[in-house]
């Protein structure tokens, strides 16, 4: 059920109270911003998504069922927008402008799959690890990627993932499971390509 103070703010926002709506934006900013940033990466895309999410929320606010919680509802708007954006993006077969050498990439990939905890190495080279991790994530299909981020990265329960994605729980489970399998397959292919000595920039 919607938080009682949320409900009051929603009512006021529907009646045109901009301050009340700004308060709602402030409350749900961390969740929405975290999701769009982790999904879209690029900061300008993230800002557009953030703005668009709240604009859509305001448009649909009169039809929002106040018996339900507001958090998953606003995150669903954000996730739908992010999925649309990911679909429109041209899928890159390889990374551009990377300053990582092949051997560095290979080491990072091997470390990620053989070390139980890479905390120490991650602190030394956060950007390099992040670049490889984001590349692997970017190879996932938008819906699976979103489900994977919500479950594996954000640590949500399947019930919450399903509520945010607007799908039955079993569908959420299937998407996460497929994302894991895809990720592992891409990882193996990528590693094999690097081990095969194919130059960076060719097909993965």
């Amino acid at each position: 059920m919607t938080d009682s103070t949320d409900s009051i703010l929603i009512e006021a926002a529907v009646n045109g109270d901009m301050t009340a709506f700004a308060e709602l934006v402030e409350r749900y900013r961390p969740g929405v911003w975290g999701m769009v940033h982790r999904t879209l990466g690029n900061s300008s895309d993230g800002e557009d998504a953030f703005q668009e999410t709240f604009m859509r929320a305001l448009v649909y606010l009169p039809r929002f069922d106040r018996r339900r919680p507001f958090g998953p509802w606003i995150l669903r708007i954000a996730s739908n927008y992010c999925i649309d954006q990911l679909r429109r993006r041209k899928t890159r077969k390889y990374r551009l402008w990377s300053d990582l050498s092949e051997s560095e990439e290979e080491n990072i990939l091997k470390t990620m799959s053989t070390e139980p905890n890479i905390e120490e190495m991650l602190q030394k080279n956060p950007h390099k690890y992040l670049e490889v991790a984001q590349f692997l994530l970017s190879r996932l299909k938008p819906r699976r990627r979103m489900a994977f981020i919500l479950r594996e990265i954000e640590g949500n329960s399947y019930e919450t993932v399903a509520a945010i994605l607007g799908v039955p729980e079993v569908t959420a489970r299937v998407r996460v499971c497929r994302a894991r399998n895809d990720l592992e397959r891409r990882f193996r292919e990528y590693l094999a390509t690097l081990e095969g000595g194919i130059k960076n920039g060719k097909a993965v």
Partner: protein, 152 residues
């Protein structure tokens, strides 16, 4: 029978019972592939979570003001009431209706009655002396046709 490796997702989602979980844990200690999958997913999450999420540059009041500004436009208002399913159904109905209206005159032309009318109108009035279908009554027209269209 299910292989221990196939239980990976159920183990990760905490869906195994305590007994199965103990079994899978012992499997994990000997199966390099499952261990590698598990490390990869854990480390990937660790790396992504380590990413600093910068605060949005946008001011909250600006976001709210822009939302109200955009929300007031008539196209957004119209679209907000047009649910996708309703919009697609309406469009499909319109296409069906237009197709029907477009096909209707053609059907009239090619139907049995339409064909008869067309043939009658095509008869050269110089042969019949007149436009048979237009001037003869039904009885006379029938008789005229039975006689092979002989000139009266």
């Amino acid at each position: 029978m299910e292989k221990p490796c196939d239980q990976f997702n159920r183990y990760r989602d905490g869906m195994l019972n305590p007994e199965e979980q103990t079994e899978y844990k012992s499997h994990l200690s000997v199966c390099r592939e499952c261990r590698s999958r598990s490390f990869l997913l854990d480390n990937l999450a660790r790396v992504i979570k380590s990413q600093e999420v910068p605060a949005p540059v946008l001011e909250i009041t600006q976001v709210a003001a822009r939302a109200y500004e955009k929300c007031g436009s008539w196209d957004v208002f119209l679209l907000s009431w047009l649910r996708p399913a309703v919009a697609w159904s309406g469009l499909a109905l319109l296409v069906v209706l237009l197709s029907f209206l477009w096909a209707l005159p053609a059907a009239r032309q090619t139907g049995a009655g339409g064909e008869y009318e067309t043939l009658m109108n095509q008869i050269d009035p110089s042969i019949t002396g007149t436009n048979a279908s237009a001037t003869l009554t039904d009885d006379k027209l029938e008789l005229w046709l039975e006689q092979g269209g002989a000139i009266q």
